[in-house]
């Protein structure tokens, strides 16, 4: 007998489970490759060819082209691997947080700070 139960959703939060891990496998594998400086350089030189070589689907390619983190998550991206993609453009987790929440980076930093009061 399985004890697995379906949990209620947590607003604004995607649980990266097996279903998402299968959906995003190619995208995450590409982002995992960015641990290597040579691979980051190869991506910079020819993004389309690099995405093709990892077999990204159209949704994933479009999200990469748009540099849109919510779209990347929707396409199966896991934030730990996506962080390596964001790093290519020098983006911090505050930049990424601001983009996802529709705030400016300054607003996002203030939002973080206020939670300490």
């Amino acid at each position: 007998m399985s004890t697995h139960t379906i949990q209620e959703e947590i607003p604004g939060t995607v649980m990266f489970d097996g279903r998402m891990a299968m959906k995003g496998y190619a995208l995450n594998k590409m982002c995992f490759s960015f641990n290597s400086a040579a691979n980051r350089e190869a991506f910079r030189k020819d993004e389309e060819a690099y995405m093709e070589s990892y077999g990204l689907n159209e949704q994933q390619k479009a999200a990469i082209r748009a540099r849109n983190v919510l779209q990347l998550i929707d396409a199966g991206g896991n934030i730990y691997y996506l962080a390596k993609f964001a790093g290519i453009f020098g983006l911090t987790v505050q930049d990424v947080g601001a983009q996802q929440t529709g705030m400016t980076v300054e607003e996002f930093k203030e939002f973080l700070r206020k939670q300490g009061e």
């Binding site: 947590i10 939060t13 995992f32 980051r40 987790v93 990424v96 929440t101 700070r113 939670q115 300490g116």
Partner: protein, 280 residues
Amino acid sequence: MAEIIGGLTSSHIPAVGNAYARKLFDDPYWKPFFDGYPPVHGWLKEKKPDVAVVFYNDHGLNFFLDKMPTFSIGAAPSYENQDEGWGIPTIGTFEGHPELSWHIIEGVVGDGFDVCSCQEMAVDHGFTVPVQLFWGDRTENPIKTIPICINTVQHPLASPKRCHEFGKAIGRAISSFPGSEKVVILGTGGLSHQLDGTRAGFINKEFDLMCMDKIVDEPEELAKLSIHDLVREAGAQGAEFILWMAMRGALGDKVAEVHRNYHIPISNTAAGLMLLETRA
């Protein structure tokens, strides 16, 4: 027999690696964070542990989704910090203690925890940032290390209760090692934070402080939480608190809190630091 003298917890925020490299210890943003550490440095100087057993989570350096073990234990003579892709400086090689590693592996498998053993293991900021915060560049204060990685990348994650029990098994194994080593246990990561989704930036001070209070004398209460509870109350990455639960398990029944620090925010995270001493 080897002796577990205490436990340390520390957040392992990557930005700390950069701030450390740039020596921003007195910078107004960083000072409330770095000021938490000197009391622990004093304790480490006095107690001089030989080995740090470090519960941490890999963030996509050593493990990928092709093979994602729930519990893995380093069994290497040394562990290398490698490029993570987004520009924190790498800080070299960490000395291991493979004899103790294999003793732990044999102990916990005998206890029903079927771990993945790793004779090669690259360690990322989850491991390196806390070790650097506590031992600096490890020349003046040398320390052997054993990394123990718990999956927090891909659900299902091991429950707080399971991680607490895993920690207990680790503690039993260390305490039966025929040696004179003094061992300190690290639980890294946390506290509340969320990097992804429209809830990014979520922090929960009240919940964090409750966890810091209860982990001292009532860890069994925290072991009742589910992973879903942790994600809801502490954020998607706040689930890293399971690493603190493993640390606490290894310390045995009674501990005394010697020091703590808590500060919001460092990067997107509520940073927590604790020093617990084991008591007979």
